[in-house]
Chain length 240, copies 2
DNA sequence: CGGTGCTTTGAGCATACTCAACATCAGTGG
DNA sequence: CCACTGATGTTGAGTATGCTCAAAGCACCG
């Protein structure tokens, strides 16, 4: 068993924060715990490449990971940022369809796919749990397709902090003061914009008093409602 | 049991063409068959709306269905076209995140979600099958995000028939002579382009001799390799 | 035939990109 | 402590790509 875990397997387990254990009983949690291994990786370290054979399902314990696909000439599309508590690495026919790279120092927990399949066979609700997670990811991907295909630069840049804000709210954290671990190039590759456009549009949002920017990586939302309108979220709910 | 089925349950069942039955034994196929119901819908009929409570998983038997998300002002992003043998309707927390609409007359087979969950509980490999399908959809969504975020109009329009061609090849059909059941507006909403750009760029592909167009809805690929280069698929594999 | 919906083509324009210069920041070593 | 360096971010000018608006061309259908 990997010694790196600092997970309490007792009755009021800290492990409940882990998405992958949700809904499992004590015995199966221990089983999962036994097959898992923790790894740390530094910022910019590649966890796996597009095309690699996939062997593990990963859960982020700490830090943030980006997933991206490349065109042959180097153009990049980041398909998602993975935050603590979220998983990644489940790909079709056991070949990764994206590259995973830590954007800051990170700690990951890996579960061998072969052993997960064994657990699945005796525990159908575990497969359903995975299904639910992937279904959420698919819905998020569809959301992002709408953004990429149909939103203007202003709408994209406004939507971005709102998405992060929602995640913070769900986690019970401060949803107005946001930390952006990614740089401008990452934001551009996520939103389908050039870095100059990211920079210009964020400056403009600052100038009109909707957000505040501090030290490159910190952003405070000053006017959530106006930001929502700019992001072209359903304005009718705000038109009261 | 719905009488509309024309599915042979005998040993060499025609049902094997159905994605959802793949890998199941005779008894479970019959069980699935018993809970299923067939419905027909005419072109432009809405099967469900974004926000509707989801009750069924659908499989397309015949025809083509489009899935889309809308912005409040009416801008549309089609997240996918669903062809015979493919499924749709599995959404997070049982609420549809997209609208489903038939683009031509279609025949669908619906499976109640509640009953599918019962099957899942006694048959883990069924859940794994669903998981595999959704995982494929997620990979396709990531592919499409790369197209929407990072490809030019020419690359988008070139990629489109290539994708359809791949599907036909997998199905063992003619992969050069393609039928496009969708209109130009649908293609634009799928690729994140205005219909005028779709029209202009397809005309240009015709003029340079890469494709042939007949009666709006039929397209023949004349030069698959050149089309691949234009779609910015890895040009290195063609540079021999 | 005339209508209706879809598609094509044209002209002008706006958005976001490219290229380029400059500013700022973090880290390093004198 | 400060100068130096490389990486990252901001700002500006000019331009290209793809959008909008408009009109004409086609096919399908009573």
């Amino acid at each position: 068993m990997s010694a790196a875990h600092s997970v309490d397997l007792g009755p009021s387990a800290t492990i409940t924060t882990s998405t992958i254990h949700r809904g499992l009983d004590q015995r199966h949690r221990e089983q999962l715990f036994c097959i898992s291994s923790v790894q740390t990786c530094r910022a910019k370290a590649v966890i796996f490449h597009e095309g690699d054979r996939s062997k593990h399902l990963f859960e982020v314990l700490d830090g943030v990971v980006k997933l991206y696909r490349l065109l042959p000439d180097g153009r990049r599309q980041i398909t998602g940022f993975v935050y603590p508590g979220q998983v990644f690495g489940l790909d079709r026919s056991h070949v990764h369809t994206a590259t995973a790279e830590a954007i800051v120092d990170a700690r990951l927990c890996g579960y061998p796919l072969a052993k997960l399949e064994l657990i699945t066979e005796e525990l159908p609700e575990f497969a359903l749990g995975l299904l639910r997670m992937i279904t959420n990811e698919l819905a998020a991907a569809h959301d992002h397709m709408l953004l990429l295909g149909r939103k203007s630069a202003t709408e994209k840049i406004s939507s971005f902090p709102l998405g992060l804000s929602d995640r913070c709210r769900d986690e019970g954290e401060d949803s107005m003061m946001l930390h952006l671990p990614m740089n401008r190039a990452n934001i551009g590759d996520y939103l389908g914009l050039a870095i100059e456009t990211v920079s210009r549009t964020m400056t403009w949002l600052r100038q009109i008093g909707v957000i505040e920017l501090h030290q490159r990586h910190d952003l405070r939302i000053l006017d959530h409602d106006r930001l929502s309108v700019l992001a072209e979220e359903d304005a009718s709910i705000l038109a009261v």
